[in-house]
């Protein structure tokens, strides 16, 4: 990818159609380009993170606009009106009353069919059973009925660790277009890299799409939430709109996840929310693992170490903390404990917000 990206600051990313397009509607092609760039350890990763954060905030601020949704009845009524106008064009000899009756009849019939289909769908059939039932041809199913996790190697040599009480289905040899897997329950995926064939996991109305990375999906039939949690690489999740066209499941409002971030999908509200995983791990791509041993080191540098090692953006007031120093050994502490030590030292608080950390307050003389 274009190396001038390395000089981008926050605003430049937001002025790039490629960046914004990818954040709003990621496709396998854009995911490939950005994943490659991110994997190359760009010097301005923090700026990229900030741009992601700023974009999300702007979208949040535009929610009043975005959520101004036309009522369903109005959609149908307007469609009937439009058709009437069109039919008058078509066949001027028709009486208007006639086409209105036809439209009403067709509408009634369609709503009846829709209600029938919807009620049928809501019945005993689980998402998993429905999806697997739609698979054409032969497929392999593996169920873990033991009390321990089970390791399964997929046809592309990706590795799945299946939790007890979970099952997974896939074609013995994946399709040409995509590697598709259906999951009920919980599994950890270590996906082999193949940019030509995206890897898709379908689990309780959520589609998780990756090119090669490590992540966990938890989607038990009886649970109201679906959880996707990323250990490395970049993953996009979206709601399954029920399109069966292979490898082309339409991602309407996708969410992009970076390492140590997770998405929770509420099946009832049909909404995603993004947060930091409960126990962030150091990510493999960090350029050079910091020692986490500090002797009178400026806090700004300590925070930068944390950002790079865990790939989590930390927002704070640089100016205000410029005189703060830290002397501590944080080698064995978890991410959360490290943050706590820093904040206690500088007398600040922190808060986790939308998959990022915000440090408030703090002062040093």
């Amino acid at each position: 990818m274009d190396h001038s990206l390395d000089n981008y600051v926050t605003a430049d990313f937001l002025l790039s159609d490629e960046f914004v397009g990818h954040q709003l509607e990621p496709t396998p092609e854009t995911a490939q380009l950005w994943e490659a760039w991110l994997a190359g350890n760009p010097p301005n990763l923090a700026e990229w993170n900030r741009a992601v954060y700023l974009l999300e905030s702007i979208r949040q601020g535009l929610s009043e606009y975005a959520e101004n949704i036309i009522p369903d009845e109005a959609i149908e009524a307007l469609l009937v009106r439009i058709r009437e106008t069109n039919h008058r064009q078509h066949a001027p000899e028709h009486r208007i009353g006639h086409s209105r009756w036809v439209a009403a009849a067709v509408f009634l019939l369609l709503s009846g069919l829709f209600a029938y289909w919807w009620l049928g769908r809501q019945g005993s059939q689980t998402y998993y059973a429905t999806r697997v039932g739609e698979v054409h041809g032969e497929y392999t199913e593996r169920a873990n009925r033991s009390n321990a996790v089970e390791t399964i190697v997929l046809p592309d040599s990706s590795i799945v660790t299946l939790a007890p009480g979970s099952r997974i289905s896939f074609k013995p040899s994946f399709d040409a277009a995509a590697r598709e897997v259906y999951l009920s329950g919980e599994a950890d995926f270590k996906v082999t890299h193949d940019v030509r064939k995206p890897f898709l996991v379908y689990a309780n109305e959520v589609v998780t799409r990756v090119l090669g990375t490590q992540f966990t999906v938890r989607a038990f039939d009886a649970e109201a939430k679906v959880l996707v949690n990323v250990s490395s690489g970049q993953v996009s999740v979206s709601k399954d709109n029920g399109m069966v066209e292979k490898g082309k499941s339409r991602s309407t409002s996708g969410l992009l996840l970076l390492p140590n971030q997770q998405a929770v999908f509420s099946r009832q509200a049909e909404e995603f929310s993004k947060s930091i995983v409960p126990e962030p791990q150091v990510i493999g791509t960090a350029r050079q693992m910091p020692s986490f041993e500090y002797d009178a080191v400026p806090v700004n540098e300590v925070i930068r170490d944390l950002e790079e090692a865990y790939g989590i953006a930390i927002l704070y007031n640089k100016e205000q903390l410029k005189n703060c120093e830290l002397s501590a050994s944080l080698k064995t502490e978890t991410f959360e404990e490290k943050l706590r030590v820093i904040c206690t030292t500088i007398n600040a608080d922190y808060q986790k917000l939308d998959g990022q950390v915000v440090i408030h307050g703090g002062e040093c003389r």
Partner: protein, 182 residues
């Protein structure tokens, strides 16, 4: 292809884009839902009449939003402006100063409310541009076409909005907590 008279394809287009068109159309004129619905009706029926002559637009959503805006403006002009397009009110509003924003932010309780306040304070044209870029996902050259300016000006417009928001969102939230939490 609805160009061949396929009603099903035509209806599919309608269902696919009606929500975006309604949302965008409503943001262009103050008041009157019925007026926006009339305009959407006109865009679709005109498309049906012209279907045989229509080439397939590369980006359908852009085509529809642009057609809708053109229709709205056309009707507003003909009706001798019973409603003022919001973009024209714009010029009269000066940049609100930071103090004014601070006061309103103070009243907003949630982060969501704060963000809404910040965006509502931007000039209308900037708001229209960021809606088209960050919600409708149109690219900068399409936004430029809709706003009748060149691509660089469209980017400048969004840049000014970003700069304003960035000051308040990134340093921002901190700033406030510091005031309250000490």
């Amino acid at each position: 292809m609805f160009q061949d008279g396929d009603e099903e394809a035509y209806t599919k287009l309608y269902r696919l884009y009606i929500k975006d068109m309604y949302r965008y159309g409503s943001s262009l004129v103050a008041a009157s839902d019925a007026f926006v619905m009339d305009c959407i009706h006109d865009v679709f029926t005109e498309m049906w009449i012209k279907r045989e002559r229509l080439s397939v637009p590369v980006h359908v959503k852009y085509y529809l939003l642009k057609a809708l805006k053109t229709r709205i403006i056309h009707l507003l002009e003909r009706k001798e402006r019973p409603f003022t397009p919001l973009s024209e009110i714009d010029a009269e509003i000066f940049d609100p100063d930071d103090f004014e924003i601070l006061e309103e932010l103070d009243m907003a309780v949630s982060r969501q409310d704060k963000l809404n306040v910040l965006i509502a304070k931007l000039p209308q044209r900037q708001q229209e541009a960021i809606k088209l870029r960050f919600i409708e996902n149109l690219n900068y050259s399409q936004i430029a076409e809709i706003l009748q300016m060149n691509t660089q000006s469209a980017k400048n417009l969004v840049f000014r909005a970003i700069e304003k928001l960035r000051g308040w969102i990134i340093l921002p939230v901190l700033h406030f907590f510091n005031i309250f939490l000490g």
